[in-house]
């Protein structure tokens, strides 16, 4: 199992959309490395023939009756939105150029 370094923590922060401070990066580099070493023992179990379990109670293709029911009212959703305009969520720019 690989150990984790500062570069990787910075990269993970970017992937996870966390604007980590310098001290957080240092702290998490140390802690994630400790946690990963502590759980490395799971690789001791040779498990080639073992099927993975993703879900404790196996179920496939669970359907319910296709009965139309009203969704949430827009005004209710708007109340919880950080920014709302013209019946839509208002979000920051999604393209590269600053506004």
């Amino acid at each position: 199992m690989a150990s984790i370094d500062r570069e990787q923590v910075v990269h993970l922060g970017r992937l996870a959309r966390l604007e980590l401070s310098e001290s957080e990066v240092a702290h998490y580099t140390e802690q994630l490395d400790q946690i990963l070493s502590a759980i490395a023992a799971i690789s001791e179990v040779a498990a080639e023939d073992i099927p993975p379990t993703s879900h404790p109670i196996p179920m496939t293709n669970v359907f319910r009756d296709d009965i139309p029911t009203p969704g949430l009212d827009r005004s209710v959703v708007a109340e919880g939105a950080p920014a709302w305009e013209d019946d839509r969520f208002l979000v920051p720019r999604i393209l590269d150029e600053p506004a």
Partner: protein
């Protein structure tokens, strides 16, 4: 007012939910009076316990009056009608603040109710408010709440367990006779153990997850919390059962937990003691009480058999890969775009910058730690070694349980390796904190059901010890059969429930 009612009113908050419901049914007391007594108690003691994040006195009393009318008119009849309850803040409650213990959801009011909340309302159970928890249910001490820790009523310098420390502390300090918790790796059972209360993690899929903010979807399960086994069973019977809105919900009848809780009979039952969940790492007084409880069970006619679950030693490692992986994905929705707080939206920053600033400001240290761990475990190049391997260990743990249940009806272990520790003691030592869940995690990985109930105080520190009972999936009734027998024997011994020993606040 006659003498009988007067006597009851003075200690309404110390009654069981079953007693309160029966008094309400008979007209000896109203739901409004019972609810008011608990709201008064909250005002009096919660400043020192901090079990609740949100209480709305007027709203609760209004609902209690409606329930009183419903009972009088015959529209509401359930074994817990009129009894108040505390709800973990992970449950969506329509129009009522729901934070999950996180600053990122500060001030958010969900537009709909969780299925559990709807079922409780239909049964005439009255909400007192929302209880404190580790942020997004990540933790074993409630210290990771974004709103400050909850304190253990047995010793205010100690943790009440977690993540459902608020619900457990509310019960142990007589602020509520019933509570709802959720259990992803032990968050119902470990708080029950360290506060001297009872908690059940039902079979995965036994209680609807609809409207419960997801931590790790393949592990999460909501369940009942109370001060005795019968109240827990009554609450279990109200919240359990199939829900078409949760695709993992089990579509078969709920086991008869109430009858099992009445049975108090373990004669002829085979009870397995898990070899791997005792000894090293377990506090001396915890093991002492555990062994005494085994003797008691044997004396009641159960056959005690030692069983080995050899892959349990890998459970913690597998759990701390599967949980963060699922959590990092589930928590991606908290990005400040559609609900919750938003930070850094100055008209110049891009959506990614705003999301990153929002998440950085809104999430606490443990949540960030687990999101990063999960993001790592799911990254290309590491996926097979971490997440893939953890899923295989999950299969091996399931098989360990399956072979054990070929020989025994139920399994037992201490619920937690230690009694309640001091606030701050393990806060920045994630590995030490994770070890609290060593005995509870295997059950979540396998999806079967388990109960924790109090079995005594550890002689060295005078703090409560819990015993865990584990049964196969959809055999939740066995938990109550064993639990009620043990509880009855202990009450005989002590002359009352352990919780009656809790120091006055």
């Amino acid at each position: 007012m006659n003498q009988k009612i007067h006597t009851m009113e003075s200690d309404l908050v110390r009654q069981s939910a079953a007693t309160l419901a029966s008094a309400i049914r008979q007209g000896d007391v109203t739901s409004e009076q019972v609810t008011a007594a608990h709201l008064d108690r909250i005002e009096q003691v919660d400043p020192s316990v901090h079990a609740f994040l949100y209480v709305n006195r007027e709203q609760s009393l209004k609902r209690a009056r409606e329930v009183d009318r419903g009972i009088a008119e015959g529209n509401i009849s359930s074994p817990l009608a009129g009894v108040p309850i505390a709800l973990k803040d992970l449950l969506a409650t329509k129009g009522v603040p729901t934070t999950c213990g996180s600053r990122i959801l500060e001030g958010w009011r969900p537009p709909y109710n969780a299925t559990i909340v709807e079922r409780l309302e239909a049964a005439g159970v009255v909400s007192l408010g929302k209880t404190n928890m580790d942020e997004f249910a990540m933790g074993s001490s409630t210290e990771h709440s974004g709103y400050g820790p909850t304190r253990n009523p047995w010793d205010l310098e100690r943790i009440p367990g977690g993540s459902g420390g608020g619900s457990a502390a509310a019960l142990a300090s007589f602020q509520a006779p019933l509570a709802i918790g959720t259990d992803t790796g032990g968050s119902i059972r470990q708080p029950a153990a360290v506060t001297g209360t009872v908690g059940v993690k039902p079979t995965y899929g036994g209680v609807s997850r609809y409207g419960i903010v997801a931590l790790a979807s393949s592990l999460d399960q909501a369940g009942p919390c109370a001060r005795d086994v019968m109240d827990t069973a009554l609450l279990h019977s109200i919240i359990a059962g199939h829900d078409p809105r949760d695709s993992t919900s089990i579509n078969s009848p709920v086991p008869d937990v109430i009858q099992a809780a009445q049975s108090a009979d373990v004669r002829g039952m085979k009870i397995g003691v898990i070899k791997q969940l005792q000894g090293e790492g377990f506090q001396r007084g915890v093991l002492e009480q555990f062994n005494a409880a085994l003797d008691l069970l044997a004396g009641l006619g159960a056959e005690i058999i030692e069983v080995s679950c050899e892959h349990f030693q890998y459970a913690l490692g597998a759990y701390y890969l599967i949980l963060p992986s699922e959590a990092s994905s589930n928590l991606a929705r908290f990005d400040g775009m559609r609900f919750g707080i938003r930070r850094g939206d100055d008209g110049t920053n891009s959506v990614e910058q705003v999301m990153s600033a929002t998440r950085e400001a809104g999430f606490g240290a443990e949540v960030k730690r687990r999101i990063m761990l999960g993001t790592y475990a799911l990254s290309s190049g590491y996926y097979d070694a971490y997440y893939g391997q953890a899923q295989k260990i999950r299969t091996l743990i399931k098989r360990d349980f399956e072979s054990a249940f070929l020989h025994v009806d139920a399994l037992v272990s201490p619920t937690a390796p230690t009694t309640a520790f001091k606030i701050g003691e393990k806060l920045d030592d994630p590995l030490a904190m994770y070890l609290n869940d060593i005995a509870t995690i295997p059950v979540n990985l396998a999806g079967n059901c388990a109960m924790s109930l109090p079995i005594g105080l550890a002689p060295e520190d005078g703090l409560p010890v819990g015993l865990q009972i584990i049964a196969p999936a959809m055999a939740d009734d066995r938990l109550y059969r064993v639990g009620s027998a043990l509880e009855a024997a202990l009450v005989d011994q002590w002359g009352g429930l352990l919780i009656e020993e809790v120091p006055a606040l």
